[in-house]
Structures are given as C-alpha cells and as structure tokens.
Amino acid sequence: MTREVTTDSGRPAATGRPVRARARRTVPVSHARARADRRLGYALVGPVLIALLAITGYPLVYNIWNSLHFDNLSYGNLPHRFTGIRDYTAVLGSANWRSALERTVAFTAVTVAFDIVVALALALMLHRRFRGRGFLRAAVLVPWAVPTVVSAMLWKTMFDPRAGFVDYFLAAFHPAWAGLSWLGASTTRSWVAIFIADSWKNIPFVAIILLAGLQVIPGEVYEAARVDGASWWQSFRRITLPMLRPALSTALIFRTLQALLVFDVIYIMTGGGPGDSTQTLSFLSYQTFIVATDFGAGGAMSLLLVVLALVVSAIYVRALRPVTT
C-alpha cells in the first residue's frame, strides 16, 4: 500500500498530467485512511464488547455448564459430576417454579397493559404546550430516577397500617378499613401493593419513550385533519396511534422485559411472602443461587429465564415490526 502511494506520487510529476495525478493519488490515500479508520474503529469498540461479553456472555456459558453438572456450595466437597438434563427436568417439574412462572406472566400481563395505557395518557399531557410543563416533566421523572429501594420502601411505608397514608385515607370511607394490613397478610393485597409501587416507578419511563414518539409526528398532519373537520378522537385514532407505532413497540418491549424480570420491589416489599405467594422467576433465581447456593438448578432456571425473555422479545419484534424505519 505504502509503495503504491510513493510510486504514484512520483510518476505524475514527471509525465506532467496534474489532473489525473491528483485523482490517482487521492484514491489510495483515502483507501489507506479507510483502513486506518477501521482499525481504530475496532480498537475503540473493543472495550465495550469485551466488557459486555464478560458480564453477560460469560455467565451465560457458565450457566449452561453448571446446569449440566452438580454444583452446590452447601455440599462443597462433593465432585462436580455430570448430571445431564436432570436439573432441567427437576426445575420444569417443580410446583414452585411453575407457580412462579404463572405469577410472573400474570403480573407482566396486568402491569404492561395498565402501564402502557396510563403512560400514553401521561405522554399526551407532557407533550402539550402549557405553563409549567417543565415542572410537570421534572415531577414525573422523579419517581423513575429514584432507586427501586426508594420506591419499594416508600410504598411499604404507605401500605403500613400504622405509618402509611393508604389506610389513613381509606378510613375516611369505611371505619373497618382503618387497620387493613396489606403486605405479608393477604396474597391479593400484597400483589396490589407491589403492582402500585412498580407502576408508580415505571410508568414515567414508558411515558418518556412515548413522548419522544409524539414529538416526531409533524404538526401539519394534525392541522390538515382539523381543517378537514376531524374530531380529537378521530385524529387520535387515525394519526397519533398509527404514527406512534415504533415508539409503542419500543415501550412494550422495554416494559415487558422489565416486568418479567421483576425482583427488587418483591425482595424489599414482601420477601416473596406471605409464604411463597409473591415469588417471581427472578426472585426464585436469587433464592436458588444466593440462599440455597445451588448453581446447577440456578443455572437451569437462569437459562429458562433467558429463553423466556428471548421468546417474548422475538414475538414482539415479529408482531410489531415497524411499518417504516
């Protein structure tokens, strides 16, 4: 490459054809630059890829290995012998895992449906031009920005019969509701509290994604619709919803995966209780790995969780393929 450049740059001066010479000279030089750029490019991208592969790829492979071997720290000196698919059959056959799967899927379906609808209304509100919009946006972002530990502890306080406002306000409607206990007392009420804490924290993020979608819809479209006499509802149905499709599918994927993997809020608010009635797949995975130190069964559970997340994303990507990109 370098040789080519020097011979080319040497010759034209002698033959005296400057125009062609310049053309011939720039081609190899830009070629060299493109190659140097590409090399620099790989060097610059390298660290991100290495870091993410180390944090996600390595555990994935290690989980596959573990799920096929015996590996339990509670029996530290037993050999890590090959066990085949025993861990998978055990996990798939266990009533614990299956009820955790049912709970997780039900929780995901309810939260995603609720959150998307509320977030859409919120996004429309955040999109409108009015005095105090900046304040509203900041106020709405705060629940998203605080740690899950804050949202979970906050709602744990609120649902406490003695410290919170939920029972305090409910008592105004019915005296018997003054001492209603929520967390750890009833399965349904525990789920209600978890659902409220989780939605309160996550709706803002979904709303911001939808807001970004609203912002790229050109205003002239609405203008034209109004001139044609379309009602608010008609332009919402015929313009907003279809043009919001890419943003809606992004929001759906984000929110669904988040809900499928719910852990922090459960750990902090109920610890999986009462009994094991609020244990989700991620919670069970934590219990198996860290509490029971069973890395074989935990590995199998983890892989099933990864597969579930992949299947759900694939379904979404297929069903919601954007009309335009």
């Binding site: 620099l40 029972d167 911001i208 994604i209 590995g299 997340a309």
Partner: protein, 284 residues
C-alpha cells in the same frame, strides 16, 4: 361551539389543569409523606398515624436524621455508593464515547450486529447472571467488595450510553471533521480538538444517566455483599429500622430521603437533558 368558544375552552383548560394537579400529586405526595414520617419521633411512630398525628403532624423532630448516621452508620454505605457510582460513570463515559464515536463515524464492518448486541446485552436478565458471577468473584476472592460492582454495573450503563453517544456523534456535522482531516490532522487529533469539545453535552447526559443507574442498583449488591461495612446505600436501607415487632419507619424514611436527594437534584437540574437522553437511543 362556534357561538361560545370561551366557556368550552375554559372548561377544557380547567379539566386539563386539574389532571395535571392530580398527576403531580400522585408523583410527589408520597415523597411528602416520606419526609413527614422521617421527621417523626420514635414515640410518634410507635403511636401510629391518626388523630392529631395526621397529614400534618403536631410536632417535628430531627432525631431520625441524627440516628440514621449515629446508630445506623449510614455514612459508610453512602460513601460506598458514591464511590461505585462515580467510578462506574467515569469508566462508562470513556468507554461509551470511544465506541459511540467509532460506530457513528468510522466505517466498521458489522456495526449493525455490534449495535444490536449492545442493545441486547442491556436486556439480559440480571438475576440470571448473579450465579456465575458469584462463583467467579468467589474464586478470585473478590466477593463482598465494592470494586467488582464497578464492572458489573457497566451492564446497566454501557448499552444506553453507547447508543446515546452514537446518535449524538451522528448529529455532529461531518464537514467539521472532514475539514480538519483534509488539513492533515490524524483521527485522534480530530477526536481531541474537534469532536470532544462539541460532544460535551452528549457526554454529560450519558454521565447523568450512568450515575443514576449505578446509584440505583439493588440486585447485584444484595447478591455479592455480605458485611455491613461494604453495603451500598440501597442495600443498607433494607436493614434499617427493624426492632422486634416495631418497624421504625422514621429511620428508614430518613435514609430514603437522603438517598433520593442526589437523583432528585439531578432530575430537577437536568430534566431536559435526561428526557432527550432517554429518548435518543430508544427507537430511532
């Protein structure tokens, strides 16, 4: 409607502002209640909400804020969290800027799959990684230390930061760079003198988001840390306030208030940047 545009419009506006007020109340009233609980004395907490101790308590006390530092030693976890979040932010900003620039500007083969992988890694189930990472940290004797967290938190921060910075670099006009390159500057010189000064706002947004995401982690911390001196702030809070059958919510909520302050300030000061940053990588 055409005859009396005034009344209909006023009614609609009133309804809209009413909805705004309700939304703000739902978002912020719980924080008021947290602050209110944190300012209660132990006796008030034990007595419970009701009667004179209602929405506005009869008396306020700073005891919980004192106790959270003296009894509960909250300063150590706060310091741990600050160190980890800042270190993660610095690493993320450097690594994501490099990758973002390369993916936006240098024609790399496979840029599409690389970007897809980075996005996918952000969705990887955290609770599926903890087992193998636990075993690995255990074998190198790095369990129960805050430093490995700096590495694992990158899984939260790198995907969104890389995407955000890639989009940001793409928006910087290429002419600027091409001019410098034609003048004979090398890529690295261009990066230092032309690109980085223009990229400061994008880098700043990535830094804010990374700090928030690292500051907020719970799952990794609860899985890897075991001694209270190494706890991060979110983990420490879950151990506060339990005393027999009485839960001292004033102590817990004082810690909750303290841990919320940095992120609440970031949101209030940089609301516009955060909104722009969150949406940059999301679906375009």
């Amino acid at each position: 409607m055409k005859r009396r545009p005034g009344t209909a419009k006023i009614a609609r506006e009133t309804l809209f502002y009413l909805a705004v007020v309700i939304v703000v109340l739902i978002a912020l009233f719980p924080f008021y209640w947290i602050a209110r609980t944190a300012l209660e004395s132990n006796a008030q907490v034990a007595a419970g909400v009701g009667g004179a101790n209602g929405i506005i308590p009869a008396s306020l006390s700073g005891a919980a804020f004192r106790d959270v530092f003296t009894q509960a030693q909250f300063l150590t976890p706060l310091r741990n969290s600050l160190i980890v979040a800042l270190a993660t932010t610095v690493v993320t900003v450097v690594v994501a800027s490099m990758a973002g620039y390369a993916l936006a500007r240098l024609s790399i083969r496979g840029a599409g799959p690389i970007l897809a992988f980075i996005l996918l890694a952000g969705f990887f189930p955290v609770l599926a990684m903890i087992g193998p990472l636990f075993l690995m940290l255990r074998s190198i004797g790095a369990l129960d230390s805050i430093w490995p967290l700096v590495i694992v938190y990158l899984v939260y921060t790198l995907p969104i930061s890389t995407w955000l910075l890639k989009n940001f670099f793409q928006q910087i006009p290429a002419d600027l760079e091409d001019a410098a390159l034609t003048d004979g500057a090398t890529r690295l010189q261009v990066l230092r003198t032309v690109i980085i000064p223009v990229a400061v706002p994008g880098v700043f947004t990535a830094a804010i988001l990374s700090f928030i995401l690292a500051w907020n982690d719970f799952a990794f911390a609860v899985s890897f840390l075991s001694s209270t001196g190494n706890f991060t702030a979110p983990l420490a809070i879950t151990t506060f306030g339990q005393s027999g059958f009485q839960v001292y919510y004033n102590l817990i909520d004082a810690a909750v208030v303290i841990i919320s302050i940095p992120v609440a300030l970031l949101v209030l000061l940089a609301q516009r940047r955060i909104v722009a940053g969150l949406t940059a990588g999301s679906f375009r």
